[in-house]
Every structure is written in C-alpha cells, then in structure tokens.
Symmetry: C2
DNA sequence: TTTTATTAATGTTGATTTTACACTTACTAA
DNA sequence: TTAGTAAGTGTAAAATCAACATTAATAAAA
C-alpha cells in the first residue's frame, strides 16, 4: 500500500547558492537583482526550485551554471532553512549551498544579463528573506573548512603569488597572519609548485608564481588535518 | 501576484533523528522497528513529516518527544538527503537531526510501545533507506563537535566520575586516551565542579563525582576552541 | 586484624609546535 | 647612481603535547 504518506503536507523546496570569489579586494559574493515578485529589484542569492527528478546537489549545480556558466565547481551543502514565512508567497524550505569559484572564470555576459554583481563581503547590500543569515552561515563554514582542508585551488587563478594566497586566507579568517609563519606552514604541506616565472605586477623585484600540486592537494583534501593559522 | 511559484514541484519533507545516548557499554543510538509499510519490521531512525505550520527544528523536537518523552534536548541539524528513490513511496527529502540524551532519562514505556531499542554504535542493525548513511554522518559530526565544544552535559547523568567522562570521549572518538593527560586537559577548561561525594560502585577506593559547572560550560559552548585529545 | 586486591589519583620531562620578530635582496624608475 | 618598494628568509623563546609509573584509599577475604 504505497499511499500511506497521503496525509502529509507537501512543500516547495528551494536551493540557494552562496557563491564566493576572491580578488585583490578580498572575499566576495555574487548576488543578483531579483526581476520577479516578491521583492523585485532587491538583491538576492542565486536560487531556484528543486525539480521532481533532481537531487539537491544537482539543483545547486544547475543554478550555479545558469548564472555563471561554470561547471565542475566545488560546492557543499550548508543548511536547510524553514521559517514559516521566510518566503511570503508560499511555504518554501530552502537548502543552501556554497560554492568557491575563480572570479576570473565566470561568464561575464550571463552575469550582465541576470543583473548579477560581485560584492565584497563587508559591503554587500541587505538581502531578501533570510539570505543574510545564509551568507553569515556560509562564511562560518568556509572559515571552518579552512582549518581542516587546504583552500585556494578553487578561489585563485591557476598561477598565483604567495601574497595572494596569504591574502586569501586573511580574507577568509578576517585576521592578519604573520607572513613568515604562514609561508613556512604552507610549505610544510607540500601542496605548491614553485614556478620559475615571476609576477611583475606587484613589485619591482617581482614575486614567484606558484601553482597547486593537484595530487598532493587532493590527498590533503581527503584526510582532514588541523591547520593553525 | 502571489502565485509566481505555481509551476514548481512540491515534495514531502521528512525529518529523521539520530538519537545518541551513552552508558557503561559505550555510545548508543535509539532505533525503532517500523510498524508500517514500506519496510515494516525493519529498523529505522525516528522520523516524521514536516507539518505545514512547523519549522524543521520544531519537527525534530516533536519527533524526539514523541518517542522518548523528552524535552529540552540538545539537537542540531545535520544534512538534507534527496536521492530520488530514497523513499520508494513518494519523493521525500529528509533533513536529519542528531540529539544527545542522557540514556537514563527517557520514558521506558514509550520506548516499549514503539518497539524502540538502544543499540551500540558498533553492532546496530542495518537500517532502512539511507539511514545508515545518516548515522555515519552524525557520528562524524559528533566527533567534530567534540573537538571544538565541550561535550558531556547532554549525554551523562547529573553526577558522573572522571572515568565516565573519559570513556564517553573515548567512545565518541573511538580511540584510547591517556588518562592523566585527559584529566589535566579537562581540568584546564574549568567546566567541572568536583563534589565531596564519591561513587562507590566502581572501586573500593571510590571515585569522586563531578557535575558540570553550567555557566562555564555554556561560556565554552559559545566560544569555539580546539581541544586536542 | 592483617593481608590482598582493585581502581583512583597524581606530576614530570623531553619533544614538538607555535609564536614573535627584522634585515637583506632584487629590481625598476627616477 | 640613487631611491623606493615589496619579496624573501631564520632563529630563539614560549607554549603545548605526549609519554610514562607510583602511591593512596578502601573493602573484602583470610
């Protein structure tokens, strides 16, 4: 008798994505200006509804792809939000995901079409519904992840300087780090390849460029560790 | 126009609870034998459907209360599970919660009526749907929580011995801990009150009983720390 | 009453990790 | 040639962690 759940209430299930990027200005999130009611014209996370034949992870991937054109992005489920009136239209439960992307890689055109914009974490506008809370939650999770997994591959360009990596960690943890201690800790992880090439933008002397050593990096991703920065 | 979501699919939303307890045999979970189809007679987590006028946290509290009679229990949301056919009856997304309870406190009668039973983590039976995965996930989360928050208040009786606390941590982390190092680390947190009273069950000498210093304990709960055990 | 058996309680030391800290180098542009 | 700028590098003191064994208290048995 496959109808024993008939008395239970069905609800809408949404997925909202907190998309993190990083550039010289610091940690950023990608937001869109809603072009439908309610709250048309207000800023919002990127979201959508779960489809009947879709799992949550795929819905998150679909939504990210719709607004950025990106594939194969690191995403992680965060939390389900269920306040009764969180969405005034209909009872909607939202499951949030966060994604880490290389800010240079997204599709500019899509971003424009959707009235999307990157905002620094610090001066992001007020968001609709409970999206502010979702963002705060995502930042906490990202900070935690930083302490047990290496980070950077997803948020930095292919080639990057030590300073960029340092500033990324500083942005995520929102605290200053000691340059020498940071470098020696990162080096002890052995996840970087030092290139012969230098980046000449930042100084006359130029600073060496690095890439991630993908094998080592992924090995570290598998086994949690504690990285005290 | 409050009908713009009309095209989206609605789904059933369930809540499943992983209920942890602890006694001299170690870490346990509370399971019930399902008395309805599908999978009648199989072991399962305690679950139920989200009601239209209810938030997820409250649904979890309600479900826990239904099966144990307990109120005011530490619970934390874990994860949303959404595989298409995870429940063969109808498309159901389940949000899992885990709870920590004092195993002595539950209502025996309720447990009996529902055919519920405590199982050691190690030899719990196979569970329906994706409930095994939920349990594994909950154990990982519990382990993590142990490393950044004090634990015990919720799982131990009011008065307990150092040995009990040690064994609780050993059960959660599933590794042996050095007794002296453990005691000095716990003492350095200053979250325990040592009583004049002794427990005479365990030895001829008797061992001192402790209670948690609620204020200090909750202060530590607020501020994450790292407890390397 | 003495002995025995059992678990509780307790501190130290060496090893490791973390933190704090400042000068020299390399290069370009003036 | 000089001046200016960020890059690159090492050490020592402090804190924390990990390993380890003996004595104390008591009840039960002899």
């Amino acid at each position: 008798m496959l109808n024993s759940y008939s008395s239970a209430d069905k609800v809408l299930l949404a997925v909202d994505c907190i998309i993190f990027g990083f550039d010289h200005q610091g940690l950023k999130i990608l937001l869109i200006k809603r072009d439908f009611e309610p709250e048309r014209g207000k800023w919002s996370l990127m979201g959508g509804f779960l489809k009947r034949d879709e799992i949550l992870d795929d819905a998150a991937i679909r939504i990210l792809n719709t607004y950025t054109g990106l594939h194969d992005i690191y995403m992680e489920q965060l939390h389900a939000y269920s306040e009764i009136d969180r969405d005034p239209v209909d009872r909607t439960i939202s499951v949030s995901y966060y994604a880490l992307i290389n800010i240079e890689n997204h599709n500019e055109e899509l971003i424009k079409n959707y009235h999307a914009e990157w905002f620094s974490i610090a001066d992001a506008p007020n968001l609709i519904f409970d999206h502010n809370e979702m963002v705060q939650h995502a930042i906490r999770r990202l900070r935690y992840r930083t302490s047990i997994k290496p980070i950077g591959f997803e948020l930095l360009p292919e080639k990057f300087t030590m300073r960029q990596l340092l500033e990324l960690y500083e942005a995520i943890l929102s605290k200053e780090l000691d340059k020498r201690n940071f470098i020696s800790k990162i080096n002890s992880l052995e996840i970087l390849n030092k290139l012969d090439e230098k980046d000449m933008q930042s100084s006359r002397k130029g600073s060496y460029l690095y890439t991630f050593n993908k094998e080592k990096y992924e090995e570290k991703l598998l086994n949690d560790f504690v990285l005290n920065l």
